[in-house]
């Protein structure tokens, strides 16, 4: 019959998900999700935090089994999926943390998993090397096979993880938010690598909420909202703004900065600030109510500078003036006493106490000064303060006693913000304030920052999200090789120009 003929063809779909639903203790995480991924295609999966992306990845990886619905692989029903069976079928997931062994070499990381899976009893160095070489060649990049993974920049971790997937005969590589920790140049190279995978007939599921990147690289696109697929888009080009609207269900926000007079009082004045190996010769003024953006390639010293202003990496030389008076910042306490607060980048490790309650998290930064060593805590007062912040920043939580880790990313970030705002800062320094936050929350967080600026708070946003800076800042400075550029006004600077400055084409 026709079947023989059909099998000669490359199947038009590698994996198909049909009517998959999944709920966790009454919460519907996925609702009747259907779409299919074709071999040699980059399939974008976008959705806000909490829209069900992670659950879907876990179902594809065999970690979770769906309550209803079915998976088909090569047109065959794929039942009782387990992680092992999923890997045998060629489904590889690259999680955000890459799951690499930092203490092993690149070659070992690429080859060992498949060697173990093969049931090898001992490590055959030659074979490991061969496998690793093959993996790197498939990827088409240069990697030092003998380097320890812990010494590599994050971008190369990503490459090692992809190479590892390739030597395991991957047919579908799922990448969970692969660009979170990458700078723009690195993102560009990653997208190039992904396109080359497509040429060797490997399918990629690119899961992200960075719409520009997804729209750029994907051949097809599925949009998740509240656990349902609201759109399957089959042909390019994709319009990021349109996708954002599909994803959030509301029209996207525009530039949030209003015109502000340029001659306000100088709040913070920094001259020739330097710290060995961190930042050097940094000078700038920050006016009352000004939003200053600082950007730079990873490792250019912008995080160090932010930590310097907030006392975590205090300057060794230079001068800081606050309100025209000399200020000494030699530790986080002195920065806080002066009213300078720092919102760190790594929410779960630096910003929050994940297992502790929302209340405790909200008060963590102000308790040092509001409450002495042996003085009793007025829990009624604490509750009042916490409730006020929950309302003011519309943090969605059913109780102040819930562990903050149970909140969604956007709400967690608001808790971090509130925690710092409760110290009543005059200068707020934020490091990538909307990393890993969904589009809706991002807009609201930007709104909060603008409101603060309106009230006279000076704001410094360190970010590698250029559109974010252009939308929110009055002025922008680029940091490169530990030094800060001249002041640029956001209105007069385009994204392209900023990007070219960033990579050093323009000075």
């Amino acid at each position: 019959m026709y079947q023989d003929f059909d099998q000669k063809h490359i199947p038009s779909e590698l994996i198909r998900i049909e009517g998959v639903s999944k709920s966790f203790s009454g919460v519907q995480a996925l609702r009747e999700v259907s779409f299919s991924i074709a071999p040699g295609q980059v399939h974008g999966l976008v959705g806000e935090n909490g829209s069900g992306k992670s659950t879907l990845i876990k179902i594809l990886a065999g970690v979770l089994s769906p309550d209803r619905g079915a998976l088909f692989f090569d047109g065959q029903p794929f039942r009782s999926v387990s992680p092992k069976r999923a890997i045998r079928k060629g489904i590889q997931v690259i999680y955000q943390d890459f799951s690499l062994f930092p203490n092993l070499s690149v070659a070992e990381n690429i080859a060992l998993v498949s060697e173990v899976a093969r049931g090898a009893w001992r490590v055959d160095r030659r074979r490991v090397r061969e496998l690793a070489t093959r993996g790197v060649r498939l990827l088409g990049v240069e990697l030092d096979l003998d380097a320890l993974v812990e010494n590599l920049p994050i971008f190369q971790w990503q490459l090692v993880a992809i190479a590892r997937a390739l030597v395991q005969q991957a047919r579908l590589i799922i990448m969970d938010e692969p660009t979170t920790a990458l700078t723009r140049i690195e993102v560009d190279s990653l997208l190039k690598v992904i396109r080359s995978l497509r040429d060797s007939d490997i399918a990629v599921l690119f899961v992200s909420h960075k719409l520009n990147e997804v729209c750029n690289v994907a051949d097809r696109l599925s949009v998740l909202r509240n656990g349902s697929v609201v759109a399957n888009l089959d042909s390019k080009p994709f319009d990021p703004l349109g996708v954002a609207e599909l994803m959030t269900g509301r029209p996207p926000g525009g530039r949030t900065v209003r015109d502000r007079p340029d001659d306000r009082r100088v709040l913070l004045s920094v001259s020739n600030l330097a710290r060995q190996g961190a930042y050097s010769d940094v000078s700038f003024d920050l006016q009352e109510g000004e939003v200053l953006g600082i950007t730079g390639l990873l490792g250019s010293g912008q995080t160090e500078l932010a930590m310097g202003l907030s006392g975590l990496l205090p300057a060794e030389t230079g001068r800081i003036e606050l309100d025209g008076k000399d200020a000494v910042i030699d530790g986080i306490q002195s920065a806080l006493d002066l009213g300078i607060a720092y919102v760190p980048e790594d929410r779960l490790r630096e910003g929050l106490f994940p297992k502790h309650s929302v209340l405790e998290n909200l008060l963590a930064a102000s308790v040092e000064r509001s409450c002495g060593f042996l003085s009793f805590i007025d829990f009624q007062k604490f509750k009042g303060i916490a409730t006020a912040w929950v309302e003011r920043l519309s943090i969605k939580t059913s109780s102040l006693d819930l562990p903050v880790e149970t909140l969604s990313g956007g709400n967690q970030q608001r808790v971090v913000l509130a925690k710092w705002l409760s110290t009543e800062p005059r200068v707020l320094v934020l490091n990538n304030p909307t990393a890993g936050v969904d589009v809706g929350s991002k807009t609201e967080i930007h709104g909060i920052l603008q409101q603060l600026a309106e009230q006279g708070c000076g704001i410094i946003i360190v970010s590698d999200d250029l559109p974010e800076l252009l939308e929110n800042c009055d002025s922008i400075r680029v940091m490169s090789k530990s030094r800060l550029s001249e002041r640029l006004t956001a209105e007069a600077t385009g994204e392209d120009q900023l990007y070219r400055m960033l990579i050093g084409e323009v000075h």
């Binding site: 966790f24 203790s25 659950t55 876990k58 970690v63 979770l64 975590l312 986080i332 306490q333 920065a335 806080l336 720092y342 760190p344 490790r349 630096e350 910003g351 929050l352 106490f353 994940p354 297992k355 502790h356 309650s357 209340l359 405790e360 008060l363 963590a364 930064a365 308790v367 040092e368 509001s370 409450c371 002495g372 060593f373 042996l374 003085s375 009793f376 805590i377 829990f379 925690k419 110290t423």
Partner: protein, 333 residues
């Protein structure tokens, strides 16, 4: 985590266990276990041990540990013993007894301060720092006592270990007061609030401007002082100080702390849980003793109980995790 809540599943489990053990022992040996004498003897026995568990618990809440508690207790007690037996002419006077007691606390606080300084200023991991001071303090104890038992305390001093106030054994009164104060300190003061946060995520605590060094230092001093109270009771109860006394207490107090729900990674755990754990273990020990089991049976049952409680606790957590999603066993509650 701030307020004492009986709704906490671990505390509920412990409470049920304590009541069950108490009822079982009362039913098995009704005349003996429930007798006034037995309850009295229990209340003399457990406070010294419970205070050591309390001492190690406060450090575990910060994510650290204090392995030097028993050595601290003995070094502090020997300071008191030397004052009592060799220095003062009239050791029974109120002043002499008071000074001996004060010396015990001072030595305890000093030992804790040494631990804290090693951990805070030299950044030695707590487990190593206190392992070192454990050896150091017990070496010092042997040096100052000459390796033999010191005995011959004054009557007034012995009162602290052997008498009763209003029918309540003095060691019990001391323990209840200290446990209450510690509980209050942990759950109601700025110090406690910050201590729990520090234990939960030291890095975030630093970024939040919490003065971690100060809190750690004070926590280890508190641990030393609590341990020195245990030393005081030990000395007064047995009328002697011996460098070998209480050697098995160290690991047992860590066991009690973990059984009581103190998370060894820091950040979580309540004093109420600790007290319940101590009580249930003590009831078991005393009951087994009455049932004429060998003293080794106690170790067997205690060890088994710890494993059962941990297993139940983990099973409940695993089931909850399976329901809500996280893949791997979480490292913290």
């Amino acid at each position: 985590m701030i307020r004492l809540k009986v709704s906490d599943p671990h505390t509920r489990l412990l409470m049920a266990m304590t009541v069950a053990v108490f009822l079982a022992m009362s039913l098995l040996k009704p005349g003996v276990f429930l007798s006034w004498n037995n309850l009295r003897s229990i209340s003399f026995q457990f406070p010294e041990f419970a205070l050591l568990a309390l001492a190690v618990s406060v450090t575990m809440l910060t994510g650290g540990i204090d392995l030097s508690i028993v050595s601290t207790a003995l070094l502090a007690a020997s300071a008191g013993a030397i004052l009592q037996t060799q220095v003062f002419e009239n050791p029974s006077s109120l002043a002499a007894t008071g000074l001996a007691v004060a010396a015990i606390f001072a030595v305890g606080a000093l030992c804790g301060g040494v631990n804290g300084a090693l951990i805070v200023h030299l950044r030695i991991p707590p487990i190593l720092a206190t392992l070192g001071t454990m050896q150091l303090f017990s070496g010092l104890t042997i040096a100052v006592t000459g390796g033999t038992a010191l005995y011959g305390f004054s009557d007034r001093f012995l009162f602290l270990g052997n008498s009763s106030i209003l029918g309540l054994p003095v060691p019990l009164v001391i323990f209840v007061l200290l446990a209450g104060l510690t509980g209050l300190l942990l759950t109601r003061t700025g110090f406690g609030f910050k201590l729990y946060l520090l234990g939960g995520n030291p890095r975030a605590a630093r970024f939040s401007g919490i003065n971690s060094a100060q809190i750690l230092l004070r926590t280890y001093i508190l641990s030393g002082v609590l341990a020195s109270f245990a030393g005081l009771i030990m000395a007064a109860r047995s009328n002697s100080v011996n460098a070998d006394y209480g050697a098995s207490y160290l690991l047992l107090s860590i066991l009690v702390a973990v059984l009581g729900g103190i998370n060894p990674d820091g950040g979580f755990g309540r004093i109420s849980g600790l007290v319940l754990a101590v009580l249930s273990l003590q009831f078991i020990a005393s009951g087994l003793n009455m049932l004429r089991f060998s003293s080794f049976a106690k170790d067997l049952v205690w060890g088994g109980l710890l494993l059962v409680v941990l297993a139940v606790h983990q099973a409940v957590k695993n089931r909850r995790n399976r329901a809500t999603g996280p893949l791997v066993a979480e490292d913290k509650r």
